[in-house]
Symmetry: C2
Subunit: 337 residues, 2 copies
DNA sequence: AAAATCAAGGAAAACGTTTTCCTTAAGCCC
DNA sequence: GGGCTTAAGGAAAACGTTTTCCTTGATTTT
């Protein structure tokens, strides 16, 4: 006798119910027209009595696919990515899928290592939070394993499954917001343009400013070579402060960049300019009441991802979710009063 | 011919190398004295040529254990938990293990559901980030699957594997720090005392204050029934503000609670009291320069967890990692000047 | 009333590994 | 040179499922 609940096999259930293991399997998996109501009930109660749950290894072996879904995040230290992961986990679980979470540190080699590992795990699907191009990704593209690109589109062409916001529209709205708020000279601080999200945002801001008559050359664009967004913001703000003429508003392509810039301005002692970021998080209300930010509903990304996986091939291959500009004008900005 | 890299089986490798699958398995797994140098080389090059990696389902089935390690976090929205998860992922990966991350929302029923699922997955080990007591946990305790309790100790007795800081010492240090900084009346805001970490911190603070001659009754202790730490801090600070006499320092059992309290004070308009929290994160330097906090090296927790799993049964069953009080006195506190 | 469908369920194959036995040949010790 | 041990490697079992066949009655169709 095996210990009761733990790891009872299909054989034990079959024996207890007085049927073959085939029947148990069919009842558990809900195959129609293969068991009488009476048999079904007997099997069900045996399953409950033994607390049986099919061993995933056996199932995966036979079905040649596991219930694992890999989420490869570029940087888990980024609260936005963590939020997406948390949301994905819930949505996957609801479908009986299990999330495997990995941190690629935005490095192609590591991303490839994980892709290979997940192939060995026979992962049901791959979710890439901010993908980078890599050999293995190229090899798997078009293969049988669905790949969902979140935030950043597929780095090679925009064909793949995608979840994200309309970055161009958001960029325009941010630009217009700054102008409407009275800003005359505007700066942009951005991260790596290899990210489609970043490049789309930057381009949209510039175009919107140009369309409103702001001379192209008067827009200051800063960036820094660093994969830490905080550092990018800090160093870029430093350079903005070194300029002869100050700017009225700084548009950052992520909240972390804005945090970095804000710190630099605070250290400087003066009143920081209007700061705008992207991502937003409920935490901003608490710790960054000075930051206007494009709220991206990461808590809904999980469902969007899963629905994309469930959809048939003819459904639209992208879920563009709505964003919302959260205007904040809290303590820190007018600290100088 | 199967498509080259993808999912080649051990049979293909054996055929290419001209050996049996048994030999391939042994070479891949590094079994000594079972293959000549020449054979080993031939197998290795076949493995490389086909980009072979053992299917984990087959392996798990045979070995009756997978390479999955489950990390069950009480709340992924908490940056501290996310940081631990990120660190665990790296450490596990280094040992060829794969992290499965789940969010139990601090609910026993959900924790049990995950525990069952992970048993079906034949998880190699279970890591509980802030465990709650639950029937399934009780059933698995003492079973073959190692369980590591992180931050909170095993809710039923302190026998289990544990990674955390010396909360009593940290609590004392925080209390002394406040007194040394000149605080006369001190408040404590804490979360659920079901967490051993929280209760140990609160007790240590109170004892240290008493030892320094602060009358027991003069210490204000606040809390709120909520699983959102931000809300606990906010609501508790509200009550502190309603008191006739203000406090000089508020010790919070987590940074999130401190964030919540800070917001309430800022809304009030006056200068917030000295605020102290627990957890800390690199982000605090950027966004909460007003928060003194006990820095817990979550980035090292992954290694501590893994070392606990690797240790034999006679090694000490706990890893108490060093903490450090990060004293900050940035802009927001002396904003009133 | 023969033919055809269909529900119910069992036996056994298949999935891809690891590992236990075996076998063979070589080396070593006396 | 006979008994050891040992390296090298193959055949086959075992792991726990799902699923393909197959069989047997019962019911429906023609």
């Amino acid at each position: 006798m095996t210990r009761s609940g733990a790891g009872s096999s299909i054989k034990a259930v079959a024996a207890l119910a007085g049927v073959s293991i085939a029947t148990v399997s069919r009842v558990v998996n809900g195959v129609a027209n293969k068991a009488s109501a009476e048999t079904t009930a007997r099997v069900r109660s045996a399953v409950a009595a033994l607390d049986y749950r099919p061993a995933s290894a056996g199932r995966a072996l036979r079905q040649r696919t596991s219930r694992l879904v890999a989420v490869l995040a570029a940087n888990l230290a980024n609260p936005a990515m963590a939020a997406i992961a948390a949301s994905a986990e819930i949505a996957l679980r609801k479908r009986g899928l299990v999330m495997v979470l990995c941190d690629t540190h935005d490095r192609p080699a590591l991303q490839d290592e994980y892709l290979k590992e997940m192939q060995a795990q026979q992962a049901r699907a791959i979710v890439l939070l901010a993908a980078v191009e890599s050999p293995m990704l190229a090899a798997m593209r078009g293969g049988p394993t669905p790949i969902v690109f979140v935030n950043r589109r597929d780095p090679a062409g925009s064909a793949g499954l995608h979840v994200g916001i309309d970055n161009a529209a958001a960029g325009r709205e941010v630009a217009v917001h700054c102008l409407d708020a009275g800003a005359r000279t505007i700066a942009i601080i951005h991260g790596s343009l290899a990210s489609s999200a970043t490049s789309e945002r930057v381009r949209a801001v510039r175009e919107a400013l140009a369309a409103r008559g702001v001379p192209h050359a008067s827009v200051v664009v800063e960036t820094a070579e660093d994969d830490d967004h905080l550092a990018i913001g800090y160093r870029s703000a430093k350079r903005l402060l070194e300029r002869s003429s100050p700017v009225d508003a700084v548009i950052c392509t992520s909240d972390l960049i804005a945090f970095g810039a804000h710190r630099r301005y605070v250290e400087d002692g003066g009143a920081p300019p209007r700061l705008v970021g992207f991502d937003d998080s409920p935490l901003n209300d608490w710790i960054a009441p000075w930051l206007t930010s494009v709220r991206i509903p990461y808590e809904n990304y999980g469902e969007a991802i899963v629905s994309l996986l469930a959809a048939d091939d003819r459904a639209p291959a992208a879920r563009i979710v709505p964003y919302r500009l959260m205007v904040r004008d809290g303590p820190s900005r007018n600290r100088g009063r």
